[in-house]
């Protein structure tokens, strides 16, 4: 029960008992809004009783349509009807790869992709905001007044750019964002509170386009995410596609027109859904290229989608490994997302964990319900049990260091909020500025990670290389959003940036990056060693050249020639891939300059002493 709040004298009472708080599941295919009413989380349906809002936005002559109305026109008006906009959030044009997959007119420009519609150029943030606005209006009609705050869910694997874009979209839709919440975590809240369970849970979230797995521990009212992983290029759509290809093969048809393809894809999806609860599903359709008449059985479906099912298990293993657990340590497996209705997914999960998965909540609604419960609590409407949520960041955050390597500052699966600092130094004598490049990902080379932001720390007083102490602090808040600041310790020169990247990773890239980071751990170690050897080579070349420019008169011709030869040798090997030869050349240069260094030190000492005498006289 909601308690009536009694206001202090002099304070105005709240306009109604409890604040209006909502949870929003902003999905790739469908979106939902839920709230807590009389202590119970409920999804808010439209006037016709439909709980889902298809995540489709259409720009019409006179305005904007969202949901079923827009979906109905998708094939007729593809250029102005945006589907699956979630895939474009926080993405640049370069990230999309083959943009011919999309029927839109993309506009060149800085940062995030933009789409030219009949209503003008729109960003994914603006398009998502239309969906969120429709959900807000639905909630306001149902709750009888303005919404005070919302929790919006994001895939656990969303990076900083995608999270920031989602938060921006919510603000644009006139929502006060109480928190961005990871989708599997939201589902765990709905389940955990519903079943009053304790123990370790796995949340298996297979959506339309993404797959997330989170491992959580529930103890005495604390939800602690231990690890999260996923494959953001794997979802229910891929299963539809396999059925589509199979049907095409059965009918022995040539490649289809766009309209035929859309029709057959819809039939393929229907057949897939029919198999949940039936022994066979027929695909019987007349296309312009010919007729398709095929009967899909569970056995055939199982065979053609076996590799997809297998692909969900690798991230599950990885998450368990990161959590230092084995499958038998898991007390329950929660299924989330419409695609987990498929029997062979349920069988594979049951087999892997040695227990049947939990399916007593609607897998399509559970994320929105969990978000509503969290929103209700964050808004201050405390009801019933008290509990706390401790979540993690999905991908490591780091800085580019010399040699194009990523120095990880905050490792993946760190509990948020988290702040961590690391000191860096200057590379050259008299260096007065340092540029910082913030990256996200697991690979060692910066080129293989996602670039989040670049910024510069200026005004460092000139010092010898290595003398400046630049402390860089990374801070990730409870929404999983990063802020970076840098400060030169001896002088206090500071620069800071809220990381507002212009675009982020493609889903496929995140998955690929993570998969490759495991597959290429050995390559990375070698690449790191080579890059480090190059950095060392550059350092010694620069130091030697500077010393020669200043004090060459200390050397006799033979010694000078020996140093020149060794220097040329290092330069010649600098860009080859032979690390051994480079290291040997650097070593030779070190030896060749040893006597020279000693003579320079003597001269420096003499200069310093004479300087002091001058001071004393003055």
């Amino acid at each position: 029960m909601t308690l009536f709040q009694i206001s202090e004298p002099g304070e105005s009472p709240l306009p109604h008992p409890g604040r209006r708080a909502i949870g929003i599941d902003l999905g790739t295919t469908n979106s939902l809004v839920a709230t807590v009413r009389h202590g119970l989380a409920v999804v808010l349906p439209d006037l016709e009783g439909r709980p889902l809002v298809p995540s489709v936005v259409r720009y019409t002559e006179g305005g904007v349509e969202v949901g079923y109305a827009a979906q109905a026109q998708a094939t007729r008006d593809p250029a102005n009807t945006i589907v699956s906009v979630k895939r474009l959030m926080g993405r640049g044009l370069d990230d999309l790869g083959d943009d011919r997959r999309y029927p839109y007119r993309f506009v060149e420009g800085q940062g995030m992709v933009r789409i030219a519609t009949r209503a003008g150029v729109r960003t994914p943030v603006e398009i998502s905001a239309e969906i969120l606005k429709a959900l807000r209006e639905r909630a306001e009609a149902s709750l009888g007044g303005a919404v005070d705050g919302a929790v919006v869910t994001v895939p656990a694997y969303f990076d900083d750019a995608q999270r920031q874009a989602t938060k921006d979209a919510a603000a644009l839709a006139g929502l006060t964002v109480l928190r961005l919440l990871n989708e599997p975590t939201a589902a765990a809240i709905a389940y955990g509170l519903d079943n009053a369970s304790e123990g370790t849970y796995a949340v298996f979230d297979l959506g339309g386009g993404t797959f997330d797995i989170s491992i959580l521990r529930l103890t005495r009212g604390v939800f602690e995410v231990l690890a999260t992983s996923g494959d953001t290029a794997l979802g229910g759509d891929d299963f539809d596609h396999r059925v589509f290809c199979w049907a095409l093969e059965q009918a022995k048809l040539p490649p289809l027109s766009a309209t035929d393809a859309r029709v057959l894809m819809t039939r393929a999806r229907d057949a897939k859904e029919m198999l949940t609860g039936h022994d066979a599903a027929s695909i019987d359709v007349e296309l312009s290229a010919g007729a398709v008449d095929a009967t899909l059985t569970p056995a055939i479906f199982g065979e053609i989608t076996k590799t997809l099912v297998g692909k969900t298990i690798a991230p599950v293993k990885r998450a368990l490994r990161d959590a230092r657990l084995s499958p038998s340590d898991v007390n329950g497996v929660v299924m989330v997302g419409g695609a987990t209705r498929m029997p062979q997914i349920q069988r594979a999960v049951a087999e892997f964990f040695g227990q049947p998965p939990l399916t007593n909540l609607n897998p399509e609604e559970v994320v929105a319900l969990g978000a509503a419960i969290q929103a209700n609590k964050l808004a201050g409407n405390r009801e019933g049990d008290d509990w706390l949520l401790l979540d993690v960041i999905p991908l490591s955050l780091g800085l580019e260091t010399m040699g194009g390597l990523s120095e990880k500052i905050i490792p993946r699966n760190s509990t948020i909020p988290v702040a961590r600092a690391q000191e860096f130094t200057t590379f050259k004598d008299g260096q007065t500025a340092m540029s910082l490049h913030v990256v996200q990902g697991e690979r060692e080379k910066v080129a293989d990670c996602r670039s989040l932001a670049r910024f510069e720390l200026r005004g460092i007083p000139p010092m010898t290389a290595g003398a400046a102490r630049i402390r860089v602090t990374f801070e990730v808040d409870a929404d999983g959003l990063l802020a970076v600041s840098a400060r030169e310790q001896t002088t206090g020169v500071a620069a800071s940036i809220a990381v507002k990247p212009s675009y982020g990773l493609t889903d496929a890239e995140i998955a690929r990056m993570l998969q490759e980071s495991f597959a290429h751990a050995a390559d990375d170690a070698q690449a790191r060693a080579l890059a480090e050897a190059r950095v060392e080579a550059d350092r010694i070349v620069a130091a030697t050249e500077a010393a020669l420019a200043a004090d060459a008169d200390l050397l006799d011709d033979a010694a000078h020639a020996r140093i020149d030869r060794a220097l040329a040798d290092v330069k010649a090997r600098r860009d080859s891939d032979d690390r051994g030869a480079l290291t040997a050349a650097v070593q030779a240069l070190n030896e060749a300059t040893a006597g020279f260094a000693a003579k320079r030190m003597d001269r420096d000492m003499a200069r310093a002493l004479s300087g002091r005498r001058v001071d004393a006289l003055g």
Binding site: T219, K317, R321, L388, L389, P417, A478, F518, A519
Partner: protein, 188 residues
């Protein structure tokens, strides 16, 4: 926002000047009560976590973020044996990360290098059992070393402690690498 102060005095939530052990109410020694650590961590987060202050002023939210991050940092450092030992040494004036005398005993290094070579061979041969046996062996060594670290540090033998910690950190890294190799074989 920098330089803007809250209009009213705000309690700092936690004492940021305390060390990790004091913050979590535990005695500053290597051997810790894991359950007490867990309880203290949860109790602190229950007070300071940003979710507890989501309806507060901007200043309160900012403070909750900092306090919660600080508690997470302390918990992380005390939960992990190597990090805990290094932190304890740091509190006692020994900074293991910057020490120059950081060589490992030759016999120790030789043994670990041989193990790594064994593991690489086993991985090439897709021999998961042999890899698992190697992981178990390194784990057993790490457990033994951890006991030695505990004995040395809690008896105040910092020099012995810091040398054992160095070995323990090395073994922990090997366990991680071997685990990764084993997982790669299993996933194939």
């Amino acid at each position: 926002m920098r330089g803007v102060r809250p209009a009213f005095p705000l309690s700092p939530m936690i004492d940021f000047s305390r060390n990790h052990f004091d913050l979590l109410g535990l005695p500053a020694r290597f051997r810790i009560d894991a359950q007490a650590l867990e309880r203290a961590y949860r109790a602190l987060q229950t007070d300071v976590h940003p979710d507890r202050h989501a309806a507060g002023s901007d200043a309160e939210k900012r403070l909750a973020l900092q306090a919660s991050a600080r508690v997470n940092e302390a918990y992380r450092a005390l939960q992990d044996p190597v990090a805990r030992a290094e932190y304890l040494l740091h509190l006692r004036g020994v900074d293991v990360r910057t020490e120059t005398d950081n060589a490992l005993p030759v016999a120790f290094l030789t043994e670990q290098l041989e193990r790594r070579e064994d593991a690489e061979e086993a991985a090439d041969a897709q021999d998961e059992r042999r890899l698992a046996a190697l992981v178990d062996a390194v784990r057993a060594d790490a457990a033994r070393l951890q006991t030695e670290v505990e004995v040395a540090l809690d008896a105040g033998d910092l020099d012995r402690g810091r040398r054992r910690v160095r070995e323990l950190r090395f073994l922990t890294k090997i366990v991680e690498d071997l685990d990764e190799m084993r997982a790669a074989v299993l996933d194939r």
